[in-house]
Symmetry: C2
Subunit: 188 residues, 2 copies
DNA sequence: AATTATCCATAGCGATCGATACGAAACCTA
DNA sequence: TAGGTTTCGTATCGATCGCTATGGATAATT
């Protein structure tokens, strides 16, 4: 998982994976069928072990603003964990791919879209409760938040520290008008 | 350039480049030395022809807020041009790379850092003129803006339309407090 | 203890990678 | 027109890719 996270799907060779796991070729194929299946298992593991902060943040019984705060600060921490590759596997795994690996790239895009949809769901619930300005576009703001998180992933990969990412998260929050207050400067 | 933009450095094979340019192997090596040199020439061309909006926005004689607005809206348009690969070559070219291509990945990271530094310079100039809130961190906000642009690049690659990216740009701007006004909600 | 069955590491499969050697065609010079 | 040179496309280089067949060591059974 760490190798795919660091180098991406295609740039990670089976030789690297073999060495890291101490397995011979037949062992690796008996255990994981093929490279694509192995990558999908790594994706599943990543989803289960590394980004729980997102589901927790979006499902916690707190205000929408607080939920988003937890989401962004959780990303700041998760994307810059010491001893782990920087950023998010869903972004680094295969942003660009050869035609042969399009299926993998599409699958990762699906993961990213699902994250964005989960954010949009949380925002929609917040709107129902009156937790968000009425004139705020749920889909638009979800795309903003998902986009910022993707950007944080790249910043983390470029060496940003957890403190720098936290500042980025705080700045991002400033784009969300405080409760009750109207959204200013939407048309300039 | 389009091939590298679409598939990234490593996933673009010389066979694809040959076919696209209609060149035989010796021709391509006579003209471009090797794949790495060819990629660097594509980078240069990209920088000259596709992202002029950034330099224009940051050097235009307008307020800092207007400069940032132009920068973000320019990115929204440049990252979703019809007939071009989505996103930014500096991001897609080699986010993750094999150990052999680390030099390329590092070079692209340098480009991204330079963009961020250019933004920070513009913000610093704005601060001198009193164009920005005094308590705003120039480096922090530059990292936010650069991060959002990187995120827009990924959203564009995931199929976001120019309108959606424009909304994202407008939302990003909302994090910049209006002139003279203090920055709210920086510590929660 | 002899034989059969099972497992597993090595060696190598075909394909493709980036890059190049070589023979044929074309062109300029004499 | 003949000679010499240069250009250029094909065929192929060694290395590496993901993946698998085979032979030898081990274990189980009669």
């Amino acid at each position: 998982m760490h190798l795919f996270w660091e180098h991406g799907y295609e740039a990670t060779s089976l030789a690297m994976l073999r060495e890291a796991m101490g397995l011979t070729p037949p062992q690796i194929y008996n255990a994981f069928t093929d490279k694509e299946t192995l990558f999908r298992k790594a994706l599943k593991r990543y989803h289960e072990t590394e980004i729980g902060f997102a589901l927790e943040a979006l499902s916690a019984p707190v205000s929408t603003r607080e939920a988003i705060r937890r989401l962004l600060l959780g990303a700041a921490e998760a994307y810059s964990r010491p001893g782990k590759p920087g950023g998010c596997l869903f972004v680094s795994g295969a942003l660009a791919a050869s035609p042969q690996a399009q299926a993998i790239a599409d699958e990762l895009r699906t993961y990213r879209k699902a994250s964005e949809a989960a954010i949009a769901d949380r925002l929609a619930r917040g709107r129902v409760v009156g937790d968000l300005p009425a004139d705020l576009s749920v889909d638009g703001f979800a795309k903003y938040l998902a986009g910022v998180m993707n950007g944080m992933s790249i910043q983390a990969r470029d060496g940003a520290s957890v403190e720098e990412l936290r500042v980025l998260a705080q700045t991002t929050l400033a784009a969300l008008p405080a409760e009750g207050q109207n959204q200013a400067a939407s048309k300039e």
